[in-house]
């Protein structure tokens, strides 16, 4: 660590003029000086902005409030997706299923932001489920019972040994992709993690990881 710190110190040296420039700006008479909040350690005069004077609030995550607005799927498509999610990923072993975790409503967001070919796979796939349900049972897919839904889905199931080699048949490809994504959206949800934690499982299934923040304002990575 000491060696690393040494490197950092030396690498920082060429940036010194930029730092000096910033300091000049903050002491310029034209620059308004931020006042620390009353009661802060700066005592109201002479405290430096950005130090310990600003209280740190505990903020809620945006994903923890409200509910996702539905922008992409049509109402019949979303109804089919909800049914598909319910069938493929039901509540099991005390853990919530896809519906309880809001997986179909969430998927509207990433699929709606995806490249056109992925969007088409999903839209066409859900329309195909409705068309097959209509043909086989004269109902929308969302209105099928478990056995009827199985009769529609089962012929479309295929093992997928490699994520980059999905089935060539468009409907089978859609089911493979949807199954994977419904599982992920369920197991990576706040609800799933909470249920896992409550039942003593380690933080639920999705878990966490080491997230790398944007590294500097311009390096987009």
């Amino acid at each position: 660590m000491k060696r690393r710190g040494f490197v950092k110190t030396l690498i920082a040296l060429p940036a010194a003029p930029a730092l000096a420039e910033q300091q000049q700006q903050t002491t310029s008479p034209q620059t308004p000086v931020a006042q620390p909040p009353a009661g802060g350690r700066g005592g109201g005069t002479g405290g430096r902005f950005g130090q310990a004077n600003i209280p740190k609030f505990e903020l809620a995550q945006t994903e923890a409030v409200g509910e996702p607005a539905q922008r992409f799927f049509t109402a019949p498509q979303l109804a089919a997706l909800r049914k598909l999610s319910e069938v493929l990923m039901p509540p099991m072993r005390g853990m919530p299923g896809a519906l309880e975790c809001g997986a179909p409503e969430f998927l509207d967001f990433p699929i709606g932001a995806s490249p056109a070919d992925r969007q088409a796979t999903w839209r066409t796939g859900l329309d195909t489920l409705n068309a097959r349900a209509k043909k086989q049972h004269n109902k929308a897919f969302a209105d099928l019972d478990a056995a009827q839904a199985d009769a529609v889905i089962r012929p479309l199931l295929a093992p997928v040994p490699w994520a980059y080699d999905l089935p060539k048949d468009p409907a089978m490809r859609f089911i493979a992709e949807a199954h994977r994504d419904i599982r992920t959206a369920t197991q990576n949800s706040r609800e799933y993690a909470a249920a896992g934690a409550a039942s003593g499982r380690r933080g639920g299934f999705g878990g966490g990881g080491s997230y790398i923040n944007p590294i500097d304002p311009i390096y987009k990575g």
């Binding site: 493929l88 093992p159 799933y192």
Partner: protein, 525 residues
Amino acid sequence: MPAREYDVLIVGSGHSGGMAANILTKQGLNCLMLNAGPESDFEHNRVSKPVYDLPYRGFGKPGRLPHVYQANEFNANQWVDETENPYTHDPANLYNWVRVRLVGGRSLFWARQSFRLSDFEFKAGDLEGNGQNWPISLADLDPYYSRVEEIFRVSGRKEGWPEFPDGNFIEPEYGPDSESIKRLAALGKERGMKFSKMRSSGGQNGLASSVNLLLPDAMATGKLEMVANAIVREVTTDKNTGLANGVHFVNRHSRQERHVKARAVVLAAGTLESTRLLLNSGIANSSGVLGRYLHDQIYGISVVSSVPEARDGKRPPGLMGGSAFIPRFRNLKKEEKRDFIKGYCVIISSGGGANPSLFAEYGEALQKKVDSYAGSCVSGSIFGERPPRYENHVRINKDVSDAWGIPALHIEVKDGDNERNMAKDASNTIEELFHAAGWEIVSNTPNFYPPGHSIHEVGTCRMGDNPKNSVLNKFNQSHDIKNLFVVDGASFVTCGWQNPTMTILSLSMRASEYLADQMKKRNIG
């Protein structure tokens, strides 16, 4: 006041650039290192987050990094953004160029698998009869490998096998193999496969990067100046002598262009960036092979089996667990006749589970399958060598430039029958091995990722004794411009099945000592 002239200008700060700086500064040479990206303070930039707090629940922003299969929503910010720094390829011939532009480069993130090349790779041309030998042998590089292994604290089991050269290793005390690994090892022996252990760099505190193992010592000499956010556009040459005399670079933030002078230039920007720089500079290509022979390794082939007596949570103690490493065992003899040249290694892992996608089931029935197979699986995957081919090349695409106005690369690489036949052999061989062990084959994937995916891209400035068919000599020195060196993976003649990092580091060390010696003798600079 005239701008300072440096002894050596180093472009890039990854393993190869870090090694060059380490060696050259210790020899008393004043060096300037230019880094295209910023420094990352990971202690500050890295935070622990639950996946549900990520905007896309771990899916990642759609379409953000289409060529980086290694990217996920946690690490997305570490990779180069293709909208800022694009490259092109024929849509039918996908190429995954996986890049990092930070101080330390890809040395910050590598998998730390640490192997030497053997003479089966250095002298592959003799074995395969096509003349594609390196101009050096293992004996030439052996002392450098040893020093690198000491710096990087490489651990591994010494075996005495010529196809899997031993090194200056820390030998850990391995526990006994599980019964499943022993069973495979006995069967493998009958099939000419030798079972060993993975070799890897321990580094310091879990990091084996130029930023903690190489650059600190270079900085401590007081002879190294490092600059971040300096994107080199062109190597400049003296009109009269033809020698390199510096570089033009662009400030990544302001876009201001500057020129810096040096007595020698060392390119260590990573295989394709170094070659792009030379192509954009219009130099070092009297041979016509600059940009040619781009190759890497095939990844992706995977066979998963299940040990029946370990299923349904009933596995007996000592049956499952652990791993094994099988170095190349194909085409080690001239008389071996197969429908492919070169070879692959196999990585065996015991005690895992089966991915749900392997079963055509859903809901409760699927969960029962997954639970039944949990802990019972043995998998095998490979790293295989792609042959270098003249036609697999990069060139400048004059119609596409990066955000700094620097022309981009067009990459043209196609896999051939050799790769496909090797993959087929690997998947069949591993399946047959598992089958002989009496295990159920759960899946067998003979498919492999597109070229570039291994992040082991090498070639494009290959070294050789003949200036007519190589860009560099055996010291990584340009045949055309004697004060210009390329010390990253671009110099490779063949990549082998091995992770190339130890070889890149050793070549950079050797080249840098040669350069320092030549500068002292006034043969350069």
